[in-house]
Amino acid sequence: MPISAGDSSWMLVSTGLVMLMIPALGFFEAGLIRSKNSVSVIMQTFSGLAILSILWIVIGFTLVFAPSHGGIIGGLDWMIFNNVPLDKPLNYAPTIPGVSFATYQMMFAVITPLLITGAFAERMKFSSFILFIILWSILIYYPLAHWVWGKGWLANLGVFDFAGGLVVHTSAGMGSLAAALIFGHRKSFGPTITTPHNIPLAAMGASLLWFGWFGFNAGSALASGSLAANTLLVTHGASAASSVVWILLSWKRSGKPSAIAAINGAIAGLAGVTPASGFISIQNSLILGTVIGLISYYTIILLKERLRIDDALDVSSVHGVTGIIGSLAIGFIASALINPAGPNGLVYGNPEQLGIQAIGVAVSAALAFGGTVFIIKIIDATIGIRVKENEEDIGLDISQHAERAYVE
């Protein structure tokens, strides 16, 4: 098919929108933790953006999207972006230049491991962090993305994931759970530690993430037009519904409606609708957003308060559990009327898709959880993963970066 100017323009914009989500993640997290660690999280996300972009260009794109070797991993055909076409499309996205597709996908590969910063915030060594995100990309993200999006074996089974419920959110979420369990909790983990130091900054981060998510989801249509339009609407609707649910739940629980709840609820909705966003109607999306809001809110209470697992920013609940819900929801409410290239779910006459989605969920969760345990244990055995106790007390900004966030 010929290159479409309309589609290409939208994909260029979407690439920028998703890139924006990476520093936005840094602002969101920085605002939610203590000020003495806020520079560290900005540094993790920003340097991660730089490092993982290079990794993608050198080896990532080819491993994920080059012609498959046995459905397990791609070859090295496009290493360092060699032979990636500028003036012709790739089969994945038939109306945009090949490089555009490859660049758009880069932003997904970069942001996924950086989501896990939320789990080990306030206690990870920076040098170990660099090793972690590189190993996580190569051993977990690249294979999984190939399996689901690169014509790998999960795609061949019929697993669908429109914009990253499995590849991004389930993987990062389960990786975060593993990381939180191995790291153990922060010193003096308890009510005093969870006070956000800058709610406006967190809200700015969340707002930029919501905005960028239009590119994350609607850009995954890989074309402009009606599918992108519906996907954008569906994304927005689920986020709004989930945010309202969280506001109401926090109001009931603490007597006052919480701004932190409002913004976290929105993020949960956005993450959860991601896999289904290109397959469902806006009406179903409002229902899905409500379900996501309810389950994610109570999962945090279960994991953090009952089980005392210190996933500092609740990535496993806000991204992991919601990604799983959305991925399974495809098996219920996906409709080929919305997207002829997608499946039908149970509600629309196809009960088999649910089982197939469940396989995708199980594989993604297992790979991410087990792989993260493996990677962290290796790093811990060699250079160590956690900062010393007095470094954690003084704060990572000073101890890891010799910088202070706020100086008179």
Binding site: T192, A402, E403
Partner: protein, 117 residues
Amino acid sequence: MRKIEAIVRSEQMAVVKEHLREIGIDGMTISTVSGWSKQRELHLQWRGQPIAFDLLPRAKFEIVIPDSQLESVIRAITRSARTGDKGEHGDGIIFISTVDQVINIAVASDYGDKISS
């Protein structure tokens, strides 16, 4: 009545507060301040240039107590603010002075011997 001003490392603030609460002090004023004494300066960087920062983050506690509580308060603060068992330069300092009068603004009466802050 005595006034205690204790200047401690800012990262110890929560710990000191808890120890004071445990011995029955539940009124105090805490401010975030900066200071330095003989502790080495903080070495930071700015665009790759090393800079020495001599204003170190501290927490300041102001408490007013009856004379009878003086020893237990000093003990609580030194135990909780000290680094490890033997302490280090920069752990902080306590100033003790005498207070003439304490007045509760809400009730506009003299507290006498029953106050904290």
